[in-house]
Symmetry: C2
Subunit: 130 residues, 2 copies
Amino acid sequence: MIQHPIERLIEKADTAIIHEDFDTLMEIYADDAVLVVKPGTNASGKVQIRKAMEAIAAHFNHTLNVRQAGMKVLEAGDTALVVAKTVVSASNTPAIERNATYVFKKDPSGEWRCTIDNSYGHELLLHKEA
Amino acid sequence: MIQHPIERLIEKADTAIIHEDFDTLMEIYADDAVLVVKPGTNASGKVQIRKAMEAIAAHFNHTLNVRQAGMKVLEAGDTALVVAKTVVSASNTPAIERNATYVFKKDPSGEWRCTIDNSYGHELLLHKEA
């Protein structure tokens, strides 16, 4: 089956996370992207997202592994929604499977960029605002 | 708690669906919106979406009821992701709770419009392509 360009981008992002190649990783995000660090805590923009990714790498003893066990892309004009089974594992944690949701946007040059990175999916609904 | 404008729009859409007020309902969608009619079957654009909504109303004996039992909006620039618990019921079916995912986009006039309407959420991953 032919991969959607966004599926290839997500694979590239996963590889970059595993290798802690944050320069490559940041290329995949839009300038105004939002990352759900954990339910209730978001990072906004590339500076915050990079810092969050570096902190996450350290939190998992630099052994973080992430892969998609399934993905579906829904495209509408210059916007796309990805629903994915994301498997996260590390030396200090058992593998966790998450129902992740990602939103991508096509920039004026035709490149897809991640604008919302919510690997927690509907777990957000369990979080009560302080 | 103050409602996000998109939460109010979704409530308006739910009321419009219940009353089969398809003119009001269609105002909420972007011109290039995509609706997941069922996993594997999408409607694209307002003409197809309206037809699909009319068929869904008839399928449920004109007793379709839809409401959100929880919503969370993640905003990034002119794009927003909504994760929601959507409860669907009708005279000929027991109530079903779905983990829905919706994407909204701000149009040039500053109005949010639904661009991807996927009430099935991650159920899409269970559908095998023909």
